[in-house]
Symmetry: C2
Subunit: 648 residues, 2 copies
């Protein structure tokens, strides 16, 4: 078990994120979703930013930009972080360009960049909320102001746009913007010794650093990560000195912002979950880059806490709506959940960085779980409706209606006034290549199964994948160097794993979730990974009160759920046997076309009106249970849904 790929101390070569130009996706699952996002969602979100879609809450994001640029009269409208919608759209649109070249779209992105350039102040400052609405109050409210959060997203957009197009105009804008931030914030005398109220800029600065190799970006990222928690009262003191507020001073809890203690001391995930995820992503990134073992240990502790104590079976995190975040270990209510789509996206970011610290299959397993469940459930099949909140149990008349459940919508709405999740889904799925592949220390990693092609320094690969329909992935490898390692992740749910190299069955076992192929590469080699993905019953740790006595279903990367559209309501009447045959039913038409449902015999404890409590145990009648993948729920109108079903 010493095969674990650990970073050697002293190694200095900077790892680079996978560049989209080196990968071509041709995947039976993800290609059609990327196509939908590129052809439908990116232009739809563009129309929203320009307020061209009637009947939905206006965005005003482009209008804010025009007003800030002096091209239009008017007032700022929207959230204090409205700019980030534009940044995230640019990033997603850039990734879309990489997959689906579109000169018209590229031109339109350039026009938005024009506006940003014109709106940017002389000193590099850029944030339309403060430029238009609160001039003179810049950087006075790091807690609520979201200037650094928006800056982070603009940096990510610039890095992505440069990566895809080679155009550096937005890059220079963000470089000037970061110089402005550095001029005002930092550990030096006379500067604001603060940290952002919403983490994001840290991970973005690391991307900018990798692209530009300019140490000042790494230093600013490090400052933000290492300073955080140094002064738990910073936000409170800032508030006292300021005398004004964006939201009237809610969310003053230091846990909400993860500032109770320094990064290296953190032991459990607390507060707002998206903030936490972006923070932990940067922590992991820096821990690896700086070889900071204390920081890496903190990342491992936090990972352990989230994934073994505070994560839903679908990968969703954030149990509490009031602060959109974490609560107690094992406290995982399925119906009251927050489970924000962005938090699952943040888990993907974090998992990907954890894989750089150490290639553990369990990190990639969670990353894949999020992508196929917690992230994807955020989007309707039509690419135009989105969930913020992803419940594991929905009850019509209760969810979205009763006060405690008002945030749990039973159907995806068209748009939100606060539109953080939709463009986040776009930018993640359109760059899924960056998460599927890895290259480090002369090792090529296949973290996720993704059909298509990928070029690395050491070799070029072609992948024929039948995943997730079937556990059969064939890698054709054309080595370019003599010595390198090829590592393929074997998922935790894989059963009866067969590994062949050049047609010959191998006895090789996965080590920490990866099978490693080394040395003696012929001109063309093939690695075939095959495994079974039987339907698995899943039981929660009995410490989880919400799932006691219940069972859930998993098949490969998919968690399943039962919906009223396929099963008579109420679903709590269903009783699931411990074992038994099941059938896979490919859905051949309708909105769920292409998805495979699962059917099996079950029982129903049939209720009837007229009484509440009785000495007689409910009689059980035979019934057929129909399950669909969790991500596909809520596409057929308002109905009941449950992931956890009562066991017989």
């Amino acid at each position: 078990m010493e095969k674990t790929k650990k970073v050697q101390e002293g190694e200095t070569e900077m790892f680079q994120d996978i560049q989209l130009k080196n990968v071509r996706v041709d995947d039976p699952f993800w290609s059609q979703r990327q196509k939908l996002l590129g052809s439908v969602t990116v232009p739809y979100q563009e129309d929203i930013l320009y307020d061209r879609i009637p009947g939905i809450e206006k965005s005003h994001a482009i209008a804010n930009l025009k007003i800030a640029a002096g091209l239009m009269e008017g007032e700022f409208y929207g959230m204090v972080f409205q700019d980030s919608d534009i940044a995230k759209w640019i990033e997603g649109a850039a990734f879309s360009l990489a997959l689906f070249p579109d000169p018209e779209l590229e031109k339109r992105i350039d026009e938005v960049i024009d506006l940003i350039e014109q709106a940017q102040l002389e000193d590099g400052y850029f944030d339309t909320y403060f430029i238009v609405k609160e001039p003179g109050r810049c950087f006075q409210n790091l807690q609520e102001g979201h200037e650094l959060y928006c800056a982070g997203h603009l940096i990510e957009a610039a890095v992505a746009y440069y990566e895809v197009t080679g155009k550096d105009r937005l890059l220079h804008i963000v470089e000037r913007m970061v110089d402005c931030i550095r001029a005002h914030i930092g550990p030096e005398e006379g500067k604001i010794r603060g940290v952002p109220g919403h983490e994001e800029i840290e991970l973005a600065l690391m991307k900018l650093y990798r692209l530009t190799k300019d140490e000042k970006y790494e230093q600013l990222a490090s400052y933000f990560v290492y300073e955080r928690g140094n002064d738990p009262d910073f936000f409170e003191n800032e508030r006292k000195n300021r005398g004004w507020a964006v939201w009237g001073g809610s969310f003053t809890n230091i846990d909400y912002h993860q500032v109770r203690m320094k990064a290296a001391s953190q032991t459990r995930a607390v507060g707002h979950s998206v903030r936490a995820m972006y923070y932990y992503t940067a922590m992991a990134d820096l821990a690896e880059h700086r070889q900071d073992q204390q920081l890496a240990d903190a990342c491992r502790r936090l990972w352990e806490n989230v994934t073994s104590k505070q994560m839903y079976i679908t990968g969703n995190i954030g149990q509490e709506a009031a602060w959109e975040g974490f609560t107690n270990d094992y406290e995982l209510p399925n119906d009251l959940i927050y489970g924000e789509t962005c938090a699952s996206i943040g888990m993907v970011f974090w998992a990907r960085r954890m894989l750089e610290i150490q290639a553990l299959g369990s990190y990639a397993d969670v990353m894949e779980l999020e992508l196929f469940n917690g992230v994807l459930s955020g989007m309707q099949m039509d690419g135009k409706h989105f969930f913020y909140v992803n419940p594991l149990e929905v009850n019509p008349g209760v969810s979205g209606v009763l006060p405690e459940y008002r945030h749990v919508l039973p159907e995806r709405p068209e748009w939100y006034a606060c539109a953080c999740c939709p463009p986040n889904v776009v930018r993640l799925i359109l760059s899924i290549e960056k998460y599927a592949w890895g290259e480090k220390e002369h090792t090529i990693y296949s973290h996720l199964f993704l059909g298509g092609e990928a070029r690395f320094d050491a070799a070029d690969l072609t992948v024929h994948s039948e995943f997730p329909r079937k556990g059969r992935i064939e890698y054709l490898i054309r080595p370019k160097k003599e010595s390198f390692t090829f590592a393929v992740r074997i998922p935790g749910y894989a059963r009866n794993v067969r590994i062949s190299r050049n047609g010959i069955l191998q006895k090789q076992q996965a080590v920490d979730g990866y099978v490693y192929f080394e040395g003696g590469w012929a001109e063309r080699e093939s690695v075939l990974v095959e495994f079974d993905m039987p339907l698995q019953r899943q039981y929660a740790n009995p410490l989880v009160r919400a799932d006691a006595g219940c069972v859930a279903f998993r098949k490969g990367p998919f968690i399943y759920c039962a919906e009223g559209a396929d099963n008579a309501e109420p679903l709590q009447e269903l009783r699931i046997p411990d074992a038994g045959e099941y059938r896979e039913i490919p859905i051949e038409d309708g909105v769920l076309k292409g998805i495979t449902a699962i059917q099996m015999p079950c029982r129903r404890a049939k209720g009837e009106a007229g009484f509440l409590y009785t000495e007689k145990k409910p009689e059980l009648v035979p019934e057929t249970l129909t399950l669909i993948p969790y991500f596909a729920w809520g596409n057929r109108g308002v109905n009941q849904m449950r992931v956890w079903l009562h066991a017989l």
Copy 2:
């Protein structure tokens, strides 16, 4: 089955509530509780009203009275309905005097009545909030002002104090007060055609009417009941015309106040549950008094809705904290529940009035269920700590802590700023005789088993009761008239019922929950009712999602629960077999002394740290389950508690 005792049309004799002077309680269960309330709680609450208890939220109720009376300088402090604390205390103290004569207490009550008399305005108006804080705004805010609610409680206090002491000073005060109300509110031209925002005065006026036989009180009660819902917009229009508010206009929902439709049209319980209970009590009272079949039908529909769709197994009602009231049928969350003690008390009031419409054992069964569970759980064993909210599941670190659960305290606090429940428990339990007995149409009813003596026109009774420890109640009857009927309720949970008359076993069956003994009374007769009360497993209707897959326990009138004090936590790990032996364990010391616990074998699905979800079904290890009566929970520190346990 035609034996049902229905009221004959045209019958005019007014029924009277049982007078305390005709009953002496000597009961193995209730006597000690009455003693505790009389000796500890009544003086404790008196000290609170006078602000003599250090370290708890001040009441200021007596101070408000002194300020209103011009005997003290100062500002009004407390809730808009703070006066009702005094009224409820007087009522409870009066009932205490009936049981435990105490000239000193009587003198102190008279002193409070002095203050009320001095504070009352010339025109009869009495409400210290408006007299002291908002003069000139009387009767402008029937929605929030609680003047009629407080008036109702003062009327009840006056009726009780007169009943016990024969002193009529408070009675005259409330007569003048009601005259003032009648001068301002009513259907006549020039008066406010409104109804109270919080029902209460209706049922109080009926008590005043029965005592004084003055029709004007019945007419005002009728006006309030029949006018309600006539103009659903009354509160909204009142608010618009007024331009000021007590609470800034929350609770504007017409369902909250039960004003969407007229009484006779109501089909399901909605809104604030205490308001609803007091309303339904008055509806039932009037339906019977006026022989209004439409109103009686509405009462039956509402009763059916509450008891077969919206009531917890402990009798608690009101599922939603936001409006302290009803939500959806079968939506009965055990941990988010409101379940106010006062609402269970209201159920007792309502059930008692339903029994006058028709003597159905099911009404008395619910009345008894409330008394032994939902009501009694509101009070600590020490008589000094109280619950507002009575949960069926408590989880330390969640209950009282996480936002959705903040109202669900895991321990009874000493006092509340809003102190409606504690004095309500006092006045109910100290007058339990009124609920236990009934007399109507030449029939004496034993609705509840209550040891002691009771005198009626037709006969005097002595009751030797071993209930609830044992189902053995002996009635010694000394007839005073030749012809009368004696009816004893046989509870729904009774098994193997044996009925003897003068030592001879009878073949008589209960009809609609009552056994009727008629005619040919000898000078002395005895009726012995015996039945078994085996431990019963209770299953919820599968339409109740919160209880799916769970089982609860009932033994006689008691619902049981498991507490962390007796069982290793977490309690959701426990798995209860379908059947099996059990032991009764009398608790011989400590705070639960005198209570009988129940033990039986069960299993535990043992959780352990390190993972969240697994393919392996949790192993079950043998364990002993210990249950205690629900009312006794929360007396041994903060710990987990569950009524519903997972079935094996």
